[in-house]
Amino acid sequence: MAGLLNRRDWLRMQAAGLIGFSVSGWFERLAAATADDPQRRRSCILLWMSGGPSQLDTWDLKPGHANGGPFKPIDTSVTGIQISEHLPKLAQQMKHLAIVRSMNTREADHGRATYLMRTGVMPTGPIQYPPLGSIVAKEKERPEDEIPGFVSIAPFRQLSPTAFQPGFLGPRYAPLIVGESSMLLGNGQGQPADLDKALKVQDLDLAPGVVPEQAARRIELLDEMEGRFLKQRPGVSSLSHRTAYEQAVRMMRSQAVKAFDVEEEPSSLRDAYGRNLFGQGCLLARRLVERGVPFVEVTLGGVAEMPVLGWDTHQNNFPSVQRLCEVLDPAFSTLISDLRDRGLLDTTLLIWMGEFGRTPRINNAQGRDHFANAWSVVLGGGGIRGGQVVGKTSPDGMEVTERPVTVHDLFATICLALGIDYNKKNMSNVGRPVKIVEKNPQPITEILV
């Protein structure tokens, strides 16, 4: 609830700013100056593989074993590390990446696992835990931020709606969502014009016929009149209403929202990322990180012909994974090289993960089912010493044989890479302080810089 006190003054200030619609320009300058600034805060890009991708056909192949399937391993730019033949461009970026092959998380239901891997906690009891994006947004926030600190690109929220809400950290750290899949269905997901539109924040411009002075007076009146209503009825819904309007007004006034104009990028670069929702979403993630947004996630849940749950390969695992890799490989590898070219890679932590992996045993439908015993996550970029593999699975892929990593270990590692104290406590919705990461984690220090 802190911050509510001066909210009114703040909104007035914003309203006054709207009158002149002045362009301060400092934000764009910040974007230009990024690279060499030692004070540059760390950012994080999470590539969220909704549905649970197969580790055996991407990062932890089992050639020669019946569980291995038809995909062949290929060498990478790091001696001794092999990955799937369908990730050839990522193979060339291996020195920036650390593969964790020994995830052991136990929860293999989509909804519960989505909550677990996004918040670090199982969904039990009354405490509403925040997802990683909200945690990072809170820890890294600065008062001058104009774009919310947590942007979620193309999410598929239905598997666990609460895992996309800010939990006890409150609405201020809710994700700003663009490119949500439900808004794209049925209108040609592959079309570039639609993609550009889908990745923008809608309705930022004043309605036709409304002049800035008028808009400012309206907002001022709104602030005045609803103050009493909301104050008399404290709670998440009223606070959330207030916060959303506050953030929306701030964005309306901001020049920083130009970050969402991916069409400003050179055509060749856009091609390299891939002209699809995930590819252009990764490009948008870079633009946002460049402008200081602390946490951006891009969801890859499918491709045009199977828009959601594409990784959930209970049937026909191999053609599906191959098809998704054709989207993943160029986007992820270009993201790495693009961040490096701009001097942003050292301050941007990259995470690749889904809610769980797939069963090593190939089922009768040539599919792989849910599996949380032994699966892979990939970390890279800022704070991570790349070119490494952590942990090991048995020859059949069924068990972790070296360095099992829990969700707590993973979250603690992520926090360290981002310079966040994971023992810090936040007040939860039940009035009990809760550590950012609980359960005495053992972070994977061997991959930290």
Partner: protein, 531 residues
Amino acid sequence: MPQRCRYLPGIAVWITAALWLWAGFAEAQTAPDATELARRIDRHIEAAWQAAGVKPADLADDAEFLRRIYLDLAGRIPTVSEVRQFFDDPDPDKRRRVVDRLLASPGYVNHFANVFRSAWLPELDNAAELAFTAQGFDAWIRSRLAENTPYDRLVRELLTVSANSRRPPVAVPPNRMEATPIAFFTSKEAKPENLAAATARMFLGIRLECAQCHNHPTAQWKQEQFWSYAAFFAGLQTSGPVGELRELPGRRELVIPNTQLLVGPVFLDGRQPEENGRASTRQLLADWITARDNPFFAKATVNRFWEQFFGIGLVDPVDDMEPDNPPSHPELLGELATAFAASGFDLKFLIRAIVLSQTYQRSSVQTDTSQDDPRLFARMALKGLTPEQIVDSLFVAVGAQAEREPQNVITARFGDRNELLARFRGSSARRIETQTSILQALALMNGRFISEATDLEKSRTLAAVVDAPFLDNREKVETLFLAALSRKPTAEESKRFVEYVQSGGASGDSAKALADVFWVLLNSGEFLLNH
């Protein structure tokens, strides 16, 4: 014969009258008394307040009650004239009368059709291709709600709908669509595991699917139980989410995936269905689920309806009725379930009892911090509106009545209803914690609908207010408040807004200033939250 015939009409009249009297008497004897159940609700809730030292909020005034009951029963806010009539009505029993009227209105059918569709066909929100099959479902649920079909029969019909029915090969107009709940099965791809999970959640309040893949050490339900329950749907097949539903009548068993284990149908209480020749497994399951003595069905249903009206269930979440997640008021839950079953699963009886309770009629204004725990129901929680409630209320506020005008007329004036609906489809776990997104705020501030709703030429309400020669500025502001917020402005608000209008606002034009006022009201939390 002719002589006796002369008396027949008279006798017939007498018999008819007697029958009618008897029927009336019988009804008075057996019709469940919603008012009495409402009192029982209050008694249980008050007992918990006493135990916890809670000072409850005041009762809602007429304005707060009226807006809430319209949103909760008809899915929209009241019109200006409906508000005025209610305010002017001196009858002390007027709240009950408005409840009766709304339960008999087309708004009730509209709203609860939406409620059931989103609860039973959640797949629709993210799969546009299912919209077509949903039309048949809509037609079905609407006709049943209009008839107040007993809930057990409704669920029975849904579970036992006959497969292999031929679907029309091409799209037909919605009003010619065959009324059938078959979309429930096709939207779940007719997979036994999906149907098991969905029916357990919806009709029994149990999250069975956690046991789908393996046994959890602490969970009550085991993998074999899950698949034995799923076996009731073993014979169903479909060619895809929009395909036909087919059934292999003889098939009653399935193999648990990745095992060699073949299981047949077993009810969740461990009993096996009796082999009785012709009845299909789905009929047997429907019999078991909807039986009066089913330990889950009535409780799960009253809990869902409680959640519908209070934003949070007596068991929260509503589909997690497990021993380790006890209800806030176990006796109340039991009593509601018993009364609901005894009423013959009469939905309107259940709804009446809830909304006539003082508990439902508490204000949402906090007067004491002891009211903060939402599970004590000491003040009405703020509830988020469903996308349909928001859109239909916007229609009412701007003067287009969603339930009386054909959809295409409104669409022509205000743009795509579906586009607007899509913006408000956010998924929220608990309705008392509905979150407004930045994108929703932007849509309401700058989007096409609101811009046209506050357009002097397109908005009927606004145009009528601006042009009314018999209204002064104070009355104009008041009318806009009634249209958007279903209440009169406070003295302070009236003064502030009238001054604004008189000064002409930002543009020096009092008509535009009235548009600004309307914009402010439609963007307020008071408009966008059910309070």
